[in-house]
């Protein structure tokens, strides 16, 4: 059973510019939650606040609470690197370590965490992670090849395997398919479906069909006027958001009237 995440009044800014404000949302365990909204509404920024990646941008700041597994990850005694190990992330642009071998890419997180395992145990973790990411069959004969030699779709699944290998609790995905072709997108969506029995997944997507296909819950973020921070307009089960949303803005966005 994976953990859930609850945010209370979460706001994030870059320098003086507020990107998102006052977001309170519950992200249930072992479900897929999609965050949708037009470009610039702050959904990626919000996602990056959930594992303290946001604060790594110079001048960036976050306030409010993110409760994960009963603890506020922004509490002073929390170690940011431990938070990031427990809440993994997959980025928009596939970013494997290009010179590292495929196998080393997968085990990179474990080695960083100082996990010492014998060769066989390590190989088992590598195989399991690659299988979960639906990449094993394609790379099992080139585990020693550099990660940069794979195709874009394979690279993205390698990044998923890399995130899975450290056995996180939650996986955040920031538009993981936006740089991929339909076939690779299909594979990653299948992977997401498989993963939710073990993990809690939050996915930011531009693609509403994708949100409808893969997610159980959906949150809709919107910037009311340009220059204003993004806010959470509505969230609920995906079927409700896509069929009978409470708010007019949500309906307009879902039906493609703007955004």
């Amino acid at each position: 059973m994976a953990g859930s995440i609850t945010t209370n009044n979460l706001s994030a800014s870059f320098g003086d510019i507020r990107a998102v404000e006052g977001i309170s949302i519950e992200i249930p365990a072992n479900k897929v939650t999609a965050l949708i909204g037009p470009s610039g509404c702050g959904k990626s920024t919000f996602l990056r606040c959930l594992n303290r990646m946001h604060e790594l941008v110079p001048g960036a700041h976050a306030s409010g609470e993110v409760i994960w597994d009963g603890k506020n990850i922004y509490a002073p005694e929390m170690d940011a690197t431990a938070v990031r190990r427990g809440i993994g992330m997959v980025f928009q642009k596939p970013n494997p370590f290009p010179l590292m071998s495929v196998a080393d890419n997968v085990s990179a997180g474990l080695r960083l965490a100082g996990v010492r395992k014998n060769k066989a145990a390590m190989e088992e973790i590598i195989e399991r992670s690659l299988r979960m990411a639906a990449l094993w069959d394609e790379v099992k004969n080139k585990l020693g090849k550099p990660g940069g030699s794979l195709s874009g779709g394979q690279q993205q699944r390698l990044c998923i395997a890399r995130a899975l290998a450290v056995e996180p609790d939650v996986i955040l995905m920031d538009e993981p398919c936006s740089a991929l072709d339909p076939a690779s997108t299909q594979k990653i969506e299948d992977t997401i479906e498989e993963l939710k029995s073990d993990y809690t997944i939050v996915i930011v997507t531009h693609n509403m069909q994708q949100a409808a296909r893969v997610s159980d819950f959906t949150g809709f973020l919107l910037t009311r006027e340009s220059g204003e921070p993004g806010r959470l307009v509505e969230h609920g089960t995906t079927s409700k958001i896509f069929t009978m949303p409470d708010r007019k803005e949500t309906e307009n966005y879902i039906t493609g009237r703007f955004g």
Partner: protein, 326 residues
Amino acid sequence: MMSLVAQLRGKLAVKAKPARGKLGDPVFSGLVFLAAFSIIILMALMVYKLAQVAMPSIREFGLGFISSSEWDPVKEVFGAEPFIYGTIVSSLLALIMAVPLSLGIAIFLSQFAPRWLQSPLGFVVELLAAIPSVVYGLWGIFVLAPFLGRTVEPFLSDHLGFIPIFAGPVYGVGLFAASVVLAIMILPTISAISRESMRNAPREQKEAAQALGATPWETVRIAVLPLARPGIIGAVILGLGRALGETMAVTMLIGNRPEISASIFAPAYSIASVIANEFAEVTAGLHMAALVELALILLVITLLLNLLARLLVQKTGSRALRKGGR
């Protein structure tokens, strides 16, 4: 000659569409080709001329020139070994001191320094490169060498004297002092170029490491250094090239004694220094030929090292560039 140039041009020049009846394009491409080709001619002429003047010495001493350590203009016996030794050892010692420090500076400036500190600090480091080497030499002789002779060298000699390289009397002036000044002189080159290549490390790579729970140092190690390696190697080689050829400061500090000692505190001599010291009193004959042969050897050492570096960069770098996707 012209036909050769034309032939080569046909082979090398980018095939351009003939511009409608205009002369500009062929004239321009011919001019830039000549500009580039003139470098090769200059280089070839220089090597040819050096070899020609050095010929008496090459004939007289053969390969023994490199391995003999006697240098006596009066008896007309010349051997280059102490100079080659002094040149290479002083440069390598300088690298050993300068590379770790430079990489530390580069990592700090490109990854950790707050933005307001980056440019001023980088500027100060680069300013070091603008100081004339005679100034370094003067400072070395009046400040650094006495300081080393009073503090660092006796300390090393007392505590590590059982190792031959730290044994023996300390003078201040000598191979070690020259190396320290060389290290300071090549520091800006190495740190500035490595900083640039580290700065180009893609943000996505750093985020990949950070999202896996990497600490700042681990992020540098797995996401910054691998992709910056070709640039770092290039920087080190440029620094080494500068150290090998540096004349003024080394001449003022190395002690100018053509001997090979086990101790790095002893005086030594370098190729560039002996040329600078003796060219004025040389008239002609074997002495002149021997000095020019030394120059030729320095040129060959530098060329070989550059070649080696190029191979290294290609070997480690091409993969990064081909597969790195950027």
